[in-house]
Symmetry: none
Subunit: 244 residues, 4 copies
């Protein structure tokens, strides 16, 4: 799943202890990058936070950019894994949808919004080759939701009159905005608040996803029911009438 390029780097330790080092560096990198963004993060600080020398960082990663790419990729991998692992395969569309939203929100808030911003900022820069890697990750990362939405559409539970792409934005957009909002206002969300927000979001979003004629359908159904009832009543009445 990792995107480690095994090019002719000078030394890229591969021992058992080395893997711990890699993890340390990635953790430090994630923290610093999330805190400061790509440019304001310095390799020196990352090294310091990982408790190693700057040179060591560069013996495990070919450069700052690659480290950043790995940090982002790892983060995506976590989310993707969480999705692929925990998704209730046999649940209803709505249950799956709720799972995705909740999981997403939870994971994002754990790591703060820094990584979001990192991805957003770095994903753009055309000069970094990062965006290629990113595009693929983005695809895999949104895939579970896309699948659920598609299934929902085919079952008639999700509106078909709007492009899937827009529905995707409808779902991911608010989630990111909520995070963003939380960050900007420097509020630290409690676990309970997160759950509440997640539920509210699921609720609101789900209603937006439903076919626009749902209410109409409900009314129509009700009217039919009533009419049917009326008819039966009248039939019944008519049945008694003759007996009168």
């Amino acid at each position: 799943m990792s995107t480690q390029s095994t090019a002719t780097r000078r030394r890229t330790p591969a021992g058992v202890k080395s893997q711990q080092r890699v993890k340390d560096i990635l953790r430090a990198g994630r923290e610093i990058f999330a805190e400061k963004g790509y440019d304001d993060a310095t390799s020196a600080e990352i090294a310091q936070r990982a408790g190693i020398s700057e040179a060591t960082v560069f013996s495990y990663f070919a450069g700052k950019r690659e480290l950043c790419a790995r940090v982002i990729a790892d983060w995506y991998d976590e989310i993707i894994d969480a999705f692929e692992t925990g998704l209730p395969r046999d649940g209803s569309v709505r249950q799956q949808f709720a799972f995705i939203v909740r999981t997403h929100l939870r994971l994002m808030l754990v790591n703060g919004t820094g990584l979001c911003a990192l991805v957003l900022s770095e994903g753009r820069s055309k000069q970094h080759d990062l965006s290629d890697t990113l595009t693929e990750l983005q695809r895999r990362y949104t895939a579970p939701l896309m699948d659920v939405l598609a299934r929902g559409q085919s079952l008639g539970h999700v509106r078909r009159d709007v492009p899937l792409r827009l529905l995707r934005s409808l779902v991911f957009g608010p989630m990111e905005h909520v995070l963003w909002d939380a960050t900007l206002s420097k509020r630290r969300l409690s676990q309970a608040q997160i759950e509440t927000t997640a539920n509210e979001l699921v609720d609101v979003l789900w209603s937006a996803l439903q076919p626009p004629d749902a209410k109409q359908a409900a009314l129509t159904q009700f009217r039919q029911d009533v009419e049917e009832a009326s008819r039966r009543y009248e039939e019944a009445s008519a049945g008694r009438k003759p007996a009168e």
Copy 2:
């Protein structure tokens, strides 16, 4: 209306020609910052694009950071102006809502998503005093929508069971995500596509904003109507009975 924060930092000429200079620099700064992001934008390039020397930039703005703040503030001001000016004061809640979404989407696509990203990136950095200014701007910038939503709530057209803050994210989030999506996939949206997307978005979002008990309400209303009708029918029937 402009949010001029630190005046007369250096010399800050006040002549008529000077104001043109300021505008030139701000325009150049907006372009460069939007294209490259804060860090990759160089003061040299901004000066060049403005057709002046690097030093002159610093005689009008105390530093790169302040220039960036002004660029962002100006951008906010434009949007805020557009909202405050164009909002159909006498329109229905839904009409006002649609106006805000459409205007927002249009303005954003004009400047590309670069400024969005700039705000996102720079809003974070705790080290700059920018975030204070930003918070206030953010407030004014979202104010029109908040007002509309609040009015909608009081009229019963917008659901009340969810915090306003979340509704705000529900609206702004997808818009930004759509823009983001467009940028990442390097698709250039035509004017028609923008309008279409805007309409779809309004549609979808509006349905999400409506009270969750809308269907229930509809049903209830219908039931009441039916009952009322039944009652009147029965009364009518009773009225005829005596005549029998």
Copy 3:
């Protein structure tokens, strides 16, 4: 004559005083590069020797490599100029030849052999694009000698049984070796010694350049003379014989 690449460098001052700066830097660069070679020369030291900051160096030259290229090119230019200016156009082949050797030797010893070594070292590295520029310079730099040799050949004063290329090596090789020798043995050659060496070199080289059949021709001539003499003698003898 200079090879200044006017690419999009950030700032490349072009004022009148700037030209002095450029000269200062080139002089410092020539010294340091000659003393230490390319790799051991540091931009810091060059800046220091030029009495400016390191950053200033990079505002006049795009990088260490370009500076080095300019240093070398300038040095070549000097020699080429000296050749083209001072060559006695109306002199004999031998006089022109002597001029070239002497001038060459003199100029090289003025700047020490460091630049030679620099050219030799840097000219090789295939990774630097320097070698292209260098090849052209080398051509122009050896052109005067080549012309003289070619003229000598056409006049019959220079041997034709050996490729010109080899003759060139025959001339330049010893000159460089002499310099090298002087450097390695840390002897500082006095002006008088230089002149002496130059004269000796001209002498020796000139004799090597002459047609190989010169001696043979002399011998042949002599033999013919002797034979002629013998014949006459015999004839004379024969003439006396009868008289005997």
Copy 4:
């Protein structure tokens, strides 16, 4: 014969296998140094080419510089050996001279001109103690030629009016220049071309070495021969005379 300077710097194993290691490292070092020059050669690559770890290199050699010194010394040793072994002791001065030139040219072209450049570059740097070692090597390396030239001078076959040192430059200079030329122009010399060039060079150089009065000498010699012949003839005639 090897010029092992600083023994037992670190551990310097002495086993039989260790000697193979040393050879491997030296071979790898020679290749890399010749290819890239001192500075661009990395200890990592040398180790890799030798098939060992970087650390091992430093357990056999005190440092990169010492390794380089050994590489150069070894190369000199080879040439010196070739000279001392193959020199036709009983040959004429010209034969010995030709042998030296041919051998030199051949050996140099085998290893490419890389090692030449290495010597030239590294011989300069005053900071390394290398130059002392180098001077001695240079002495031994040029000794055979010097001997031959001296013998030639004493026999009157080589001009005496020019310092030996200059004659040495006259011989070695063109050889190096030829190599240099070949390298710069990226021409790969075939074996036949080498031999041709060697012969031409011997020819040209030999003529340059001969006394400037060679023609005069030749004439004188011839005259003497003739006179001798005459004398013998006359003696013979006189011998016959008595019979008369």
